[in-house]
Subunit: 707 residues, 2 copies
């Protein structure tokens, strides 16, 4: 009996019948999987076991071949030995199975590249889709489908896509402990075929998925990933752990999956740019998923803490402020209102401390009242063992209902509040393990609600044809002219070849001027003494030109560029480089050694729009300087944002650009001007194509400056 | 029967007999306390209940007065109503009770100042000591003493001193969950008498206390606290949570305890300076206590992660590196050795991934082998439900025994590994909730082992008589002369009163010179145009003097100071101010706007020694600049450290100094020079005595500079 074909994702998550292929002898992986599927409630009559001996188990019949199973098989779960997997997959394709989940290990992760290539070849040839190999299986709670050895979580709205099966297992186990409902789970192992991009696309549209959780070590196609991620975040929150943040983490990733981890700072920028919420631990991930699925949106940063004990309230307040929430005092009117019904021992600040005598009615009335003024509340209950916390939970639940606003309860410690926590969950509220974690989660939830709209990421070369080619020579005068042609603001300048031309140019431009040597053999002009600042008159021009001649003596001297001397400007640097994973990346920072020492640079996958450019500018720690801290003139940040947007498009218009530095860019009170430029042509310097940020960053910031 | 008097701390923690004073009616606080004491194993025959009706409970007899109890009472636990507490304490003193734990609330925390003062008066008059009021009781597991309503933890080596009872309760409950053994616990509430200083002094000497955990919101006497803390950290690790880190946290503290929280950055510096380990959450506190009590010392930063699954291993590696550990690859020899017995699917980097097939023998052999090369290991086991983790725990325990080095196990997720975790604990190993938390804990443990010796904190004015008084006038020339007299390096300078004196001075000093206006009415010289740099010859001196005259026109013009022009130096700022909690504080940072914007300043409670001064210099984020980053000349950091030490003693030698700024201090390749000074005399400007860091910082960095 052959099934009417489903599309592969439908077949994967809602198969009519499933084949389990491999040994189901007691104690074997297949046996455990079968038990899990049955315990999870998948109908045994829709299961078939296939192995050479046709051995069944636990009441499910076994067959020696798929063809004999006689069921509308949409999906197969494969635990057969690695060597037999290609043959198994061939058979799957033959009987019309649409997708196989290959749990079997022993492929590229142990150097068996040929085995994995064989799987890919079958996928290409037959159209069968594959999850894995070397994966931990999948879950669809809403279909009672649990072909995995991990913990079976309760049903709910969170779907988890995990490159690491073990990490997925931890998430699912903790989800069960914390009452977090899961819709779907997929561990995709070596990703021989289906990968994070496919699952993001599917989950974006999946009505049972309210929130996507994603654990990632590497991606195969950076731009495709960002596109799928952007599309997903446009519809629902996506919480991401990207592991391999540090050197050793990245090495570990390398040895773990056999693929290259992109530089973490670019990942970080790209994830933010796509509107994803990056976290670093499974705990944070679960806290946010709880918040997204069980709380109404957190529409602002004003948070109030209602507690029955001082210390934990103070710690929650500390964390809330550090995480960017506002823990403001209640208004006088609110305070007066609270005082009208609360006993005198209560503290009416923020935290509001009901003391150990806090009651159901106290929590209910206080929370309901304060949420008229605040965006969200944390309801802390540090329970002594001799008091029953269920009434307090009831008060919190009622206040959540009455106010319609987010209340994050943190009832603790563990065993003492078990009944109260069960009550909270039964009534749709999460419980956070501590007030600090509740505070951190609310901060991220608020950030999510308040985030600006995002421009979708474009795929490299997808939307824009190349408009031209770079000039043959990329010496400073040609490069500056090329920038000007491309609409970038450059100062007036003259390329001069002798002292007389220099004098004329200086007069035309107007004193004081700057002069810089032009020679293909002198890259770091200022280190060579090839920059003369603040030239005041004709005589100084003459001396400056002589000086530049002497600097270039014995080298290929082409002349000098004359610029006006720019004063009263902030100096910033704007750079472009190519990330091996994500392609063109835009970098922005202040000039100066502090920037270098601190690595205070903002990155974005190019191109960016105005709002993204504005965020870059505000993101660096030195931003207050540009904005006019300590009485200095503020720079023209609108013009700077325009410049960033224009620069970010250049690598798409001119694909030859491998790297480019504009350093300095002068940010004036009105307008910006590019002070110097260095462009590296693609192919001209292949080594630099692989540049990672720290190198690029160091390099750009040591380039010369005309003022 | 009157007891032979014990000293109060002995009476508190090891009383022969205890009076419980207050109602013990069922459901009352006293009843719960009594039950807790009996359940904890305190002998009922050594207990007496005292209340007006002489009511006993749970087999313990009641008496209408202490005198009638007929036991050698050393300690009393008081839950009587607030109004009767003073009378109760009088009676305690009369019958020879040495110390009373007053759990009763309703004192200063609700504005009942008189009630608390009455307690203090009895303490002063009778010598009775008091814990509380408004406290959560105490614990001594080794004496089976549990007069508290919090969870009874297992016995062990950690003692907790908590200003917040609820926080203490959370700690004790989690300690029980995580198998952390506790020696003593004390919650001291409003601290009417005994406070953190007394308990630190006692626990420093207490042989049953291996590690002290301290939760703090405020301290009453900053220097006494630091002295007690230093004495304690000299003998055992002290892990501190200081709450009220942020604005709102501090406000909350204020409303909670009615006392003033010192500025957090000074607390942070002071705690570090005393050798305490500051953490921000109870989770971290427990992790560190587990590490200190159950692991051998972590003697270096090289850590290896042995895991059976990729993802969680990568996350642990990421966290380890971020926390300052080195996650280096195994040496080729070690790798070869591992390859000789491990199956081929194992990854031999760091993490070392034994895969899900990792065995007892695998963990044992690998851990034993790698710990010959590394300082510590994290043993991760992410257990699937179908595998028994106890053998893996056995392998880890054996490796810990064989290697004698620290192994931090992280077996998870929760219920799946319960048996294995029990096995670990039964064999003396802790279990960390995640690999990340194990990594973070190892990092702090290593930091502790590697920390330099600390100079003990001195009490203000304690060790040094005032050596003199400040000059009458603190204008620049007098202040600079005074600095020179006190051994601080200042440039050659002349105080001149007319152009001719200026010319002579400039010639003596040698061109180029700097000239600055001297006027008590011009504080911000450079903002007023009162600083002229780079004066090259006699004619320029004349013009400069005229200019300074015109700047001071209509003001109290006293003349000018002439200095040599200093070039090629780093500019830093060194400041002193008085913190209301801790007294004189030394501040150090780079000059420049980045420092201001980032608040990149190191603080220390004064005085400091050379090694502490060196740490201050290395602590600021801009340190690489001073050390010669990017090809610049390195500053003379030894001379700078000397300067910091000398400045730090000045407020003890000259108690009149309220605040002082040396800004800039020139740090030359050889030597340092103070470029300008501003001193505020104590009493001269009372408002500034209260200065908190950000203000001080902003102010010092806007002071004028002579170059």
């Amino acid at each position: 009996m052959e099934a009417i074909p489903l599309d592969p994702m439908t077949a994967l998550f809602t198969p009519r019948a499933v084949a389990l292929i491999g040994s189901v002898g007691e104690g074997r992986l297949g046996y455990h999987l079968l038990r899990q599927m049955l315990d999870g409630g998948f109908p045994p009559q829709n299961l078939a076991i296939v192995n050479p001996r046709g051995q069944g188990a636990l009441g499910v019949p076994g067959f020696p071949s798929l063809a004999e199973a006689g069921l509308p098989l949409d999906m197969a779960v494969v635990v057969a030995p690695a060597a037999s997997v290609p043959q198994v997959l061939e058979e799957c394709a033959e009987v019309g199975i649409r997708v196989a989940v290959v749990i079997t290990a022993g492929f590229s992760e142990v150097g068996n590249i040929a085995g994995e290539e064989a799987i890919r070849e079958i996928v290409r040839r037959t159209g069968l889709r594959v999850v894995g190999p070397n994966c931990a299986g999948i879950v669809n709670t809403h279909h009672r489908l649990f072909p995995t050895l991990e913990t079976r979580p309760p049903a709910g709205g969170v779907s988890l896509v995990a490159q690491s099966g073990a990490l997925g297992g931890v998430f699912l186990a903790w989800a069960k402990e914390q009452g977090l409902g899961v819709a779907k789970f997929v561990s995709y192992g070596n990703a021989a075929d289906l990968n994070e991009v496919d699952f993001l696309r599917y989950l974006a549209e999946d009505p049972q998925t309210q929130v996507v959780a994603l654990y990632l070590e590497t991606v195969q196609d950076g731009r495709a990933f960002l596109e799928a991620l952007s599309a997903c975040t446009a519809r629902k929150p996506v919480v991401v752990i990207k592991a391999g943040r540090t050197g050793s983490g990245q090495r570990a990733t390398l040895s773990h999956t056999g693929s290259l981890a992109g530089a973490d700072r670019v990942y970080d920028a790209a994830l933010r740019q796509c509107g994803a919420i990056r976290v670093t631990t499974v705990e944070e991930m679960i806290d946010l998923c709880l918040g997204f699925t069980a709380l109404p949106p957190v529409r602002g940063r004003r948070v109030v803490i209602v507690t029955n004990s001082g210390g934990p309230g103070v710690l929650a307040a500390d964390r809330a402020e550090e995480a960017g929430l506002e823990v403001a005092e209640p208004s006088p009117a609110l305070r007066e209102h609270l005082a009208s019904f609360l006993p005198p021992q209560c503290a009416l600040g923020n935290p509001i401390d009901l003391t150990v005598e806090g009651t159901e009615e106290g929590y209910r009335r206080v929370l309901t009242a304060v949420l008229k003024e605040y965006d969200a509340a944390i309801a802390l209950n540090i329970a002594p063992a001799y008091l029953d916390s269920v009434p307090l939970a009831r008060g919190v639940v009622e206040a959540a209902r009455e106010s319609g606003k987010p209340i994050a309860p943190a009832f603790l410690p563990g065993p003492i509040v078990a009944d109260a926590v069960a009550y909270l969950r039964a009534h749709g509220l999460p419980n956070f393990p501590t007030g600090e974690r509740a505070a951190a989660a609310l901060a991220r939830l608020a950030e999510y609600s308040l985030r600006p709209g995002r421009q979708p990421i474009i795929r490299q070369g997808a939307s824009l044809p190349s408009v031209g080619s770079l000039p043959h020579s990329l010496l400073e005068p040609e490069a500056m002219a090329w920038l000007r042609e491309n609409g970038l603001p450059v100062p007036e300048f003259r390329f001069v070849h002798n002292a007389e031309e220099a004098r004329r140019a200086a007069r035309e431009i107007g004193y004081p001027v700057v002069m810089k040597v032009v020679s293909p053999e002198i890259l770091h002009k200022s280190e060579w003494g090839g920059v003369v600042l603040n030239i005041a008159d004709d005589e100084e021009v003459r001396r400056a030109f002589e000086h530049l001649c002497s600097v270039a003596e014995g080298r290929d001297f082409r002349g000098a560029v004359v610029y006006p001397m720019v004063r009263g400007a902030h100096e910033v640097l704007v750079g472009l480089f190519r990330d091996p994973q994500f392609g063109p990346v835009l970098a922005f920072g202040l000039g100066g050694i502090y920037t270098e020492v601190l690595g205070d640079v903002a990155l974005r996958v190019a191109p960016v729009d105005r709002s993204e450019a504005g965020e870059m500018i505000r993101e660096i720690r030195g931003y207050p300087i540009l904005a006019g801290a300590r009485g200095r003139a503020a720079g023209d940040l609108d013009a700077l944002a325009d410049l960033l947007v224009r620069v970010s498009w250049l690598p798409f218009q001119y694909p030859e650009i491998a790297e480019m530095d504009l350093n300095p860019v002068f940010v004036l009170p009105v307008g910006v001007l590019v002070g110097d430029v260095r462009i590296i042509r693609s192919g001209a310097n292949v080594g630099q194509l692989q540049a990672v940020i720290p190198q690029t960053f160091c390099r750009v910031s040591s380039a010369p400056s005309p003022s």
